[in-house]
């Protein structure tokens, strides 16, 4: 018999020691090498030592191979210079029993950061995957918030945190500003960012400053303004990690931007639909800013056509999308980059929007004027023959829409009559109302006719440095029951959630702009349902446009919903001519609006 036992190897084996027999062995005494088994026949054959051979069996193995990564540690997290008061949210009571983690107990809410799909390196993906839940970061860094963020807002922050290219396309009023600011704050603290540029429309600069003060008071800001010397100094000032510029100003400072001296870790575009025309100078300048990360904030990534979204992506990731991409491919390609939530999905306990369709007949005087204008206009268009352009049609549309507001000769208006009746009720109940129109002239007339409600005006003719004062007075002056706003000036960035009545005196071409206007009042913090009265003159051009608007609304919904069918995009030239039963004079079929 031949056997040996060494430290890591047992060197006993025989030809009979096959795997089928192993299960029969009861025990092996390694000292005496006696084998007990129930199988006597097999055991007798075991005694035929002449066939015994010795083979090595490896019992232990070298230590397993490992892979590992080390991550940078930011000292800023430990500095604890952010605030002294803990956040309202109680993340965890360390003295409480650990039941929340047991399998049968409900789990506490945690929001995890996920790596984006386009991040390839395992090390980079693990860096984000291994970050603590946002709630832990908030608590451990003692971040102070003015109020506890909603869970969907934490998810939005987690979404932005790891992304180099992202579109936060939440519906207006869900707090895109707060989500962007808080993410910037966390990224600054973790040393992932040090130079941030935020670009927004000029009227919203003060709003952003205010929001930064509220949500990230410790972050030094620099608003780019003043004469060219001052602006140059601010652009290059390293002291402020966050700089705020407006779109209008970029044009003036183009030389400085093109110079290549400026470089940002992150560029955020607020109201990113401003670059929907990729050939515009603003879009070109924005795209030329050197940066590592690019975020776009917009409630309306598609205002007219998918080309709007493609243009935004030219800023985020040039060449990633194409205009001719199939609808399904576009949905798939953008899925990991676009986060869009709507109020009805995430704020189920938010007071609803109540729509009232005020479909009104024109007054007798308006009807006479309208018919005359339409007949004359259509005849004129027909006479133009092949020389007719889209501009001619637009002129007629606008003229007819104005008659739907007020009769040009007598000034009568069925809309105004209805509005006055409604406003009496609104004022009597101590409430305030916002009235939107596309024309400043209409707002002027309304201001005169609604004088008893001390209306305030907020539109393009009000100097931008006076606009904050207008809003402040509307909030605080109990006599001011009405604010008159143009869609252009009042559609974005304002918080008027104390107002529970919105009137759309006339309709905009684009439902997304109307939604933005309505959401000045219907946003976070609103305490009551918001009643939206949409005024429309029946059997007029307004009704025909309404049908087209509805189709555009469906387009938007289709792109951001799963399994959506492709839609006819935009308001085509054919459709605009079709408003008057006309056909296009040439074969050219271009997008017009």
């Amino acid at each position: 018999m031949e056997y040996q036992v060494i430290t890591d190897e047992v060197t006993v084996q025989s030809t009979f020691f096959d795997s089928d027999r192993l299960c029969d062995i009861q025990s092996i005494d390694m000292e005496s090498f006696s084998v007990e088994t129930k199988d006597s026949e097999w055991l007798s054959s075991w005694n035929d030592w002449s066939e015994l051979r010795v083979l090595p069996i490896q019992c232990s193995a070298p230590l397993p191979k490992t892979i590992g990564f080390a991550f940078p540690e930011s000292t800023l997290w430990n500095a604890n210079t952010l605030g002294t008061e803990p956040t309202e949210r109680v993340i965890q009571d360390s003295t409480a029993p650990r039941e929340t983690w047991s399998k049968n107990a409900p789990t506490k809410r945690i929001t995890r950061i996920r790596p984006p799909g386009d991040l390839v390196r395992l090390e980079d993906r693990l860096y984000y995957l291994l970050q603590p839940p946002l709630e832990t970061i908030v608590q451990s860094a003692k971040l102070v918030f003015p109020f506890t963020p909603f869970p969907y807002q934490m998810e939005g922050i987690a979404f932005l945190f790891s992304r180099a290219a992202a579109v936060l396309a939440d519906e207006m009023g869900l707090g895109k500003t707060m989500q962007a600011i808080t993410t910037i704050r966390m990224l600054l603290l973790s040393n992932e960012l040090s130079h941030v540029l935020l670009i927004c429309p000029k009227p919203l600069v003060t709003n952003w400053v205010r929001e930064f003060r509220q949500w990230a008071p410790e972050i030094p800001l620099a608003v780019i303004e003043g004469d060219s010397h001052k602006r140059q100094w601010i652009w290059t000032n390293p002291q402020a990690p966050v700089k705020i510029a407006n779109y209008e100003l970029l044009m003036r400072d183009r030389e400085l931007i093109d110079d290549g001296q400026l470089e940002f870790d992150l560029v955020v575009l607020d109201e990113a639909q401003r670059i929907k025309n990729r050939n515009s100078t603003t879009s070109e300048i924005v795209r030329s800013i050197p940066r590592s990360r690019s975020w776009a904030l917009t409630g309306t990534p598609i205002e007219n056509s998918v080309e709007d979204l493609v243009s935004i992506f030219e800023f985020l990731s040039p060449g990633y999308l194409r205009d001719d991409m199939h609808h399904k491919s576009l949905c798939q390609a953008t899925r990991d980059y676009v986060l869009r939530r709507t109020k009805d999905k995430v704020l189920t306990d938010m007071p609803p929007k109540l729509f009232r369709e005020a479909d009104l007949d024109l007054s007798a005087e308006q009807r006479l004027s309208y018919r005359a204008a339409e007949e004359e206009g259509v005849v004129h268009l027909a006479e133009l023959g092949e020389s007719i352009t889209i501009q001619h049609v637009f002129e007629l549309v606008l003229r007819l829409k104005q008659i739907c507001n007020f009769d040009p000769t007598t000034g009568t208006s069925s809309k105004l009559e209805r509005l006055e009746a409604d406003l009496e009720e609104v004022a009597a109940s101590g409430q305030k109302a916002i009235i939107f129109s596309q024309w400043v002239e209409t707002l002027d007339i309304l201001a005169r006719r609604l004088d008893r409600y001390h209306p305030l005006q907020y539109h393009g003719r009000i100097a931008s440095n006076k606009r904050d004062g207008v809003i402040e007075r509307f909030k605080s002056d109990p006599k001011c029951k009405v604010i008159l706003m143009s869609y252009g000036a009042g559609a974005v960035g304002l918080n008027l959630q104390f107002c529970h009545y919105v009137f759309l005196f006339d309709r905009w071409w684009n439902p997304a702009i109307e939604d933005q206007a309505i959401n000045r009042a219907h946003r976070l913090g609103v305490k009551q349902p918001v009643t939206v009265t949409r005024m429309m003159s029946v059997d007029t051009i307004e009704q025909r446009i309404h049908d087209v608007l509805e189709e555009k609304r469906q387009l938007f919904n289709s792109l951001f919903a799963d399994n959506a069918a492709p839609r006819n995009l935009g308001l085509s030239q054919k459709e605009i001519f079709g408003l008057f039963g006309l056909s296009i004079p040439t074969a050219k079929n271009q997008k017009a609006a």
């Binding site: 019992c59 230590l63 590992g68 991550f71 540690e73 965890q92 650990r98 995890r112 995957l129």
Partner: protein, 184 residues
């Protein structure tokens, strides 16, 4: 053996997963006192041999999870954690071959997937201590470790560090590093 210094501000979270097809895989996450990741190490999936299964019998999990996987992972950190927490009872066996302090934390992340049992004080006869809302277990014959565990854990609880949540991060990181274990 790679040498590294103990760092009182870092703690290690160590887990070993056992999957029917892929075998054993281990992960180690080193965190700072704010629960931010400093290092992550994981093993390649390893399979036991038939002879190991026979000869180690019921102690096989302890051998592979503790003496092989946990030991190899504990050699890796640049800055040695002051303590290792594990959610895998079998990983405590590393104490036989490595002097570093390791304690099993009772409880488990609800999404954990492994054929290895999670620590439960009631169902096993090993030294246990309750500190704050947690219960910790150490290897038999190393009862003295419990005092050290209590001494280290108390300040951590003051900082409100969650001692279970990091295991969920390791689980996801292992699935990311070894996608085959995702389906298991």
């Amino acid at each position: 053996m790679e040498s590294s210094k103990k760092n009182a501000n870092t703690i290690g979270f160590l887990t070993v997963r056992k999957h029917e097809l892929q075998g054993y895989v281990g992960g180690l996450l080193v965190l700072n006192e704010l629960a931010r990741p400093l290092e992550f190490h994981c093993t390649l999936p390893i399979q036991t041999t038939r002879s190991q299964q026979i000869l180690y019998g019921p102690t096989l999990d302890g051998f592979v999870a503790g003496e092989q996987i946990a030991r190899s992972l504990m050699l890796k950190p640049r800055s040695q954690p002051v303590i290792y927490f594990t959610d895998t009872l079998a990983a405590l066996s590393s104490r036989h071959v490595d002097p570093q302090l390791i304690a099993a934390v009772e409880g488990a992340w609800s999404g954990a997937s492994s054929a290895l049992p999670h620590p439960k004080a009631e169902s096993c006869d090993i030294p246990c201590i309750a500190v704050g809302g947690y219960r910790f277990m150490v290897m038999p014959n190393y009862e003295k470790d419990l005092e050290a565990v209590a001494r280290i854990v108390e300040p951590l609880l003051g900082a409100s560090i969650d001692l279970i949540e990091p295991f969920s991060r390791i689980e996801e990181a292992l699935m990311e590093a070894h996608p085959a274990t995702r389906a298991a």
